[in-house]
Symmetry: C2
Subunit: 272 residues, 2 copies
């Protein structure tokens, strides 16, 4: 059975936790509202895929058990919108890097503040810190997030997000905590899955439902020319879609197709 | 001032620690004996370089303070050899990936079991898991160690270490927790610094003092032919040098130069 840690006064974990020691764990941040969690199934899928990739025996049954306990605690449908973070680590034990047998997962659930969202337009910048094309756990939301931490440290206070490129690749593929979208003449352009450090749940949903919003889909990295000509949207499942108004001190346009998509998506997912 | 956590009954860290959440931290494992710590200065240098690279304001003065407290607790010169692990994280706080200002480091000190060491010859294997050439924090002993964890999970119970290659590179450059050496006709061959996930303290010391052991130095990745012809040594500062006797079910020779180096180095550093 996993070890459960629930929101309370000053939750702590043993200092020998393998998530702390080596990054052997995954997490999800889930927007929860009176109507329930947003994109729950997508978050479940990514969490379980990450656990499999990292050798953590936390399966759908264990996740069901978490979900039931979280529901009983009122965490999945709070009175006001909130963000619920679940972290699943490989627990304690093992000899150095070698995991113990069996691994006993540790599951930490906490409520974290919802991020402020500049609905009228975000400032972003191009980051120097590259994404590794072969990082272990790539695509999964593992606890090893140094690339994103170091890219975030490049941002000034009034910059909302940093754009990142794959080392040796061309074009911009991802924000530190958002996926990237551009609406170009009726087509949703977004970087391909295999270039992403984290496979965004909102992105997956949006690509799957693009025709519902009257858009075709093209998957490719975005160039600076794309941004300057067609504009840029940022998206994740706790903020919805956010238009970009400025990148690196130069303006970024917001076209009519993008404005409509932002309104439609945010309404559909229950964002303000 | 950093927050200190010392060995005691069940040490814990707050669940919002940035080392746990994102891997924003570094660690060192230090062999400590009645004669004091082994290669202390090299461990200090690597720890401080890692903190600088990861934006953690833990400097030489803070490390001096740690060292003094550790000495007062008897941790640096125990009655029997032991392994002291120090972990320095970016502490708690911040908005998501963005670090707080200021960062208050958290310093966790624990005694961990000394690894068993097959002095008569280790079995190793070639690992599938590659090392990323551009991983954030590369060279530093950061808490983001998924590559090493996943490579270690490839090992069977009777395999002591796994050899890793840089993605897209040629040759073997590093073990999951050791550096690699081959003694070839009076020359110490070891992979170059810029190909290492972690810059080994024993390796640095050995390269600097090679002439003391009557050896020249050549820095290059090792091929399987090197291993099969000249043999392979594994080394780190908590185990000293260990000869390899078998790799992937085929024997690996141990030549006279390697045997002498193992004896000389282990004697000089106080290993049994």
């Amino acid at each position: 059975m996993p070890e459960w840690i629930w929101p309370g006064s000053d939750p702590v974990v043993p200092s020998d936790d393998r998530g702390l020691a080596y990054g052997q764990g995954v997490f999800e941040t889930l927007r929860v509202t009176p109507a329930g969690p947003v994109l729950l199934e997508a978050h479940r899928e990514r969490l379980l895929a990450g656990c499999r990739a990292l050798g953590i025996p936390f399966d759908a049954g264990a996740l069901d058990a978490w979900q039931q306990q979280a529901a009983e605690r009122g965490l999945l449908a709070p009175q006001a919108p909130a963000v619920l973070k679940i972290t699943v680590t490989a627990g304690s034990g093992g000899r150095g890097y070698r995991p113990p047998e069996p691994v006993t997962p540790r599951v930490i659930s906490v409520l974290v503040p919802a991020p402020p969202v500049p609905r009228d337009g975000a400032r972003v910048r191009f980051c120097q810190q590259p994404l590794s094309a072969v990082a272990a756990g790539r695509g999964h939301k593992s606890l090893a997030r140094l690339e994103q931490v170091l890219a975030s440290a490049e941002l000034s206070d009034d910059e909302f997000e940093g754009l990142m490129a794959v080392d040796g690749g061309s074009g911009w593929v991802e924000g530190t905590r958002t996926c990237l979208f551009s609406v170009v003449d009726g087509t949703l352009v977004t970087p391909p899955r295999d270039q992403l450090a984290v496979l965004g749940t909102l992105r997956e949903w949006l690509v799957r439902n693009a025709d519902h919003f009257g858009l075709a889909v093209q998957e490719r990295a975005l160039t600076e020319a794309d941004l300057r000509t067609h504009g840029l949207l940022l998206g994740n499942s706790v903020m919805g879609l956010v238009p970009v108004s400025e990148c690196g001190d130069s303006p970024v346009p917001v076209n009519a197709g993008a404005t409509r998509l932002v309104e439609d998506v945010n309404r559909e997912l229950g964002f303000g």
